[in-house]
């Protein structure tokens, strides 16, 4: 394992039997798992290159149990790693050897559907898709749609601020959650926000969203639901050059059109996807755009015409427009299967997740090609083109000595390039452990210290999910220290107050 995790506390490990007994007193029966065989299911999340069995797994099913577990662990100085469905691609739920893995899988109930206020109040273990299914009979849905929506939990979505192909128009998780019940590491249970548009005071919900399980354990979430658009149609447009596809994306946005989704694939990704799902993708193009327009039929038809004209103006070589739901779904089938499709052409792959300004796409892809030559590894690119979120899939073979290290170095260089081009390290997968040690590429020590001070406001002992997000851990007392330069004021013209 290339990533260093916080040193295990041997004193805690020595007390394992007593800790397990104490947890059993809180969560009786099968809610505490401590055998190596049974714990194996929890030893990694979607970032499978990293594995670590936890000290013990506990699966509470009430908020009170979560509170008691955290209070007990805080009192005993025991680390806790929260986990939803374990689909994180950045290692956010990677267990610690000396930590309790707190699974929220038993929080599976939707507590309230309130159509008048257009919200659903749900427990965190409910899957993203299940929320949409629960309100579909009334024409509603929950907008953020990460690719893993069939499996990922809404609690995990809040922790990671998950996106999806439709977030260009409908926003990420943070734009679609209104409130939560959260348990702090101290065991304190708090309710934040509710069914109104805005919370009172500081936007705590906003900062909890995307905090990667470091601030608290969420036990209930209130999400916004929307009416499904009347219809959706898609265009599938091929280009002989990546630059032309990038220009097309810029002109669509420039024309004031915000598509429901706008995805790009490069040649290796197109070929892998076509071989897998036979969606009818053109194989002689360098870039393929899938552009989906949704809304009332009259609007969609009009925008399809406008987008087609823009694509023609950018020199598209092929353009197909869906005329049925089946055809639209077929266009998407290849894109949605892009990861497994790449899995078929390569023994292993690493999925990266940087964001760049849209305009930097051609130079970013050129850089990725150069890096591929340098590291002697293939790379297929899928790209949420509308919002600049790039997913290079680096192809490697873990059985070949040195390839995973080369793939990781390649990936790190891609993310450095994203920052260099004015972008960021992660658009939707989170920092976790995967991008943790790259954080200084984007943030100074001062920036990171301010973030860690916020962590201290929620978890003063640093026991909740330590080792994720931040490359260097500091004690809260150290972070809170002020460096006052009394008597050495540099600006003589500052009036003495």
């Amino acid at each position: 394992m290339a990533i260093m995790m916080p040193a295990s506390d041997q004193a805690v490990l020595a007390r394992r039997a007593g800790i397990i007994a104490a947890l059993r007193a809180i969560v009786p029966g099968e809610g505490v798992i401590d055998t190596p065989a049974e714990m194996r299911a929890y030893e990694s999340d979607g970032l499978t290159a990293y594995r670590q069995p936890p000290m013990v797994v506990v699966l509470p099913d009430t908020t009170e149990q979560v509170s008691l577990i955290l209070k007990y662990c805080a009192g005993q100085g025991i680390k806790v790693v929260p986990r939803g469905s374990g689909t994180s691609l950045s290692g956010g739920a990677l267990p610690l050897e000396d930590g309790v893995l707190l699974g929220l899988g038993k929080f599976k109930r939707i507590r309230e559907i309130d159509f008048d206020n257009r919200v659903v109040v749900t427990e965190p273990g409910v899957t993203n898709l299940a929320i949409s299914q629960a309100v579909a009979h009334a024409g509603f849905y929950y907008a953020p749609d990460p690719s893993s929506q069939i499996a990922c939990s809404i609690g995990g979505n809040v922790a990671e601020n998950s996106g999806g192909v439709h977030c260009l128009k409908y926003g990420m998780t943070t734009n679609n959650v209104l409130g939560c019940e959260i348990v702090l590491m101290s065991g304190e249970i708090l309710r934040i926000g509710g069914k109104g548009c805005e919370n009172a005071g500081y936007d705590l919900m906003g900062v909890i969203t995307g905090s990667e399980g470091l601030l608290g354990v969420i036990t209930e979430i209130t999400v916004r639901i929307l009416q499904k658009p009347e219809t959706a149609r898609a265009l599938m447009v091929g280009f002989a050059e990546v630059e032309a596809a990038g220009e097309c994306v810029a002109r669509i946005i420039g024309a004031g059109i915000i598509p429901g989704g706008m995805e790009m694939m490069d040649k290796p990704a197109i070929h892998a996807a076509e071989a897998f799902v036979h969606a009818g993708y053109p194989l002689d193009v360098e870039a393929l755009l899938i552009i989906e327009l949704d809304g009332p039929k009259i609007e969609v038809d009009e925008l399809i015409t406008r987008v087609e004209a823009i694509a023609n103006g950018c020199g598209s070589t092929t353009c197909q427009i869906s005329t049925s739901e089946a055809e639209r779904n077929l266009f998407w089938a290849g894109r949605k299967a892009a990861f497994p499709a790449v899995g078929r052409i390569s023994p292993d792959y690493l999925c990266m997740d940087g964001t760049i300004p849209r305009g930097a796409l051609p130079k970013a892809l050129a850089r990725i090609r150069e890096l591929g030559e340098k590291y002697q590894l293939g790379c297929a690119n899928v790209f949420h083109a509308g919002d600049g979120n790039l997913h290079p899939l680096i192809l490697y073979d873990a059985n070949k000595p040195g390839e995973i290290e080369r793939a990781e170095a390649f990936g790190a260089d891609i993310l450095r390039a994203c920052v260099e081009f004015g972008g960021v390290l992660t658009g939707e997968h989170g920092v976790g452990i995967e991008k943790r040690d790259l954080m200084p590429e984007m943030f100074s020590e001062v920036d990171l210290n301010q973030q860690q001070r916020l962590k201290c406001a929620f978890d003063s002992q640093g026991l909740l999910n330590p080792g994720k997000v931040f490359p260097t851990l500091h004690r809260c007392a150290e972070l809170g220290r002020m460096h006052v330069h009394a008597g050495k004021l540099a600006f003589p013209d500052i009036p003495r107050f």
Binding site: D116, N117, R118, G163, C167, G171, M172, T174, N175, I189, R191, K195, G196, C197, E198, A200, G201, Y202, D203, L204, M205, G206, V207, T209, G210, Q227, P229, E230, G256, I258, G295, I298, E299, L303, T355, P357, R358, D387, G388, N389, G422, G423, V424, T426, V431, M439, S444, V446, Q450, Q451, R453, L454, A457, F458, M482, L489, D493, I494, P495, F497
Partner: protein, 418 residues
Amino acid sequence: MDTGSVVNTLKVRDAKDVEEVVRAAIANEQPLEIIGHGSKRGIGHAMATNAVLDVSALNAVTSYEPNELIVTLQTGAPLHDVLSLIDAKNQQFAFEPVNTAPLLGTPALGTIGGMIAAGLAGPRRIRAGGARDHLLGAHAVSGFGDSFKTGGKVVKNVTGYDLCKLLAGSWGTLSVMTEVTLKVMPKPEAERTLLLRGLDDAAANKAMTAALGSPFDVSGAAHLPKSAFRAKTEGLGDLAGQGEALTVLRLEGITASAAHRAGSLRELLAPFGTATLVEDVASAALWATIRDVLPFAASGALGAWPVWRIVCPPASGATLGAQLARETGGDVIYDWGGGLIWAALPPKADAHAPAVRARSNAVGGHATLIRAAEDVRRDVDVFHPQAPGIAALSERVRASFDPKTILNRGRLRRDVAA
């Protein structure tokens, strides 16, 4: 550094100046009031300090990239100028920032920093989100006297904690923002407003709920009860002339779509009456009137009345608003489909705070005393008192940015000694 005409106003030139001033303030244990144009100084509790950090000279447009849908600005940039800049590219801040000048009776000023720090969003909040949803990145100086950055210059980013969410709506109590990157969105080609007359608050709330629960993508849902027209109100033209309540629903987008959806929505709303149509310029004026709460303008008949801004679950709006109006003899206006109530209540020493807060709490809402005389604000909590656990966490969050309470000390809470 220009020390300005008022002796204790420090007009900073750059982020470095801000650091110096904050560090000096820390060393001298002297709190600072942070201002841009000072247009919202009347909101919140009076701060017992005469040391003012003025960012209005930090007014540059750092970069504007219409095709990337982002603009990066120094926080002292005048809002009016920025709106003109992006309007020239047919873009806008989709959250419709409220212009508080008419309501507060202040000159028509305001900066980007003030817009974000106050976080007051207009009618499109229900569809496009608030200021917090459009702040992508920020550079700021914390109460440690250190410049830090958070977020980025791209629309999709989950790298590190999203401190932007905390800065938006923090009223200058966490950090001094020096530069922000904001999302801009294309302006809609057309807007159509359906107008229903004569509904009582409860029926209007039901009509708005039906509209917002429809697939017609409603981008504004407001109700002006009859009594809201006791003052002559700009922007309403002849609409208010008949002395009837107005319920208005807005549809935006490409022309054919807005017109089509207006037709469909009119059918859906038939049980509430026959809706008439208001288009483009007249529609825009109407929504600006609602956004800026012009019926309660400082220059109008209710100009001396305290005004509350109440956020609540939208379907509870009419019950809450009608109760308050009845109990106090005040007036209310509903926006956000009932989820935002502006309440102008007759003058009283406590601005009717016990009734407003009790009624708000009963439905899970919260209330801010947005306009009141200074002596009223001395005795009444301007911002909604929070549950003890949330209040304690919020204080720890605040202290994690500003442990010595240098920045806007006492603005949010009466119990913070100056």
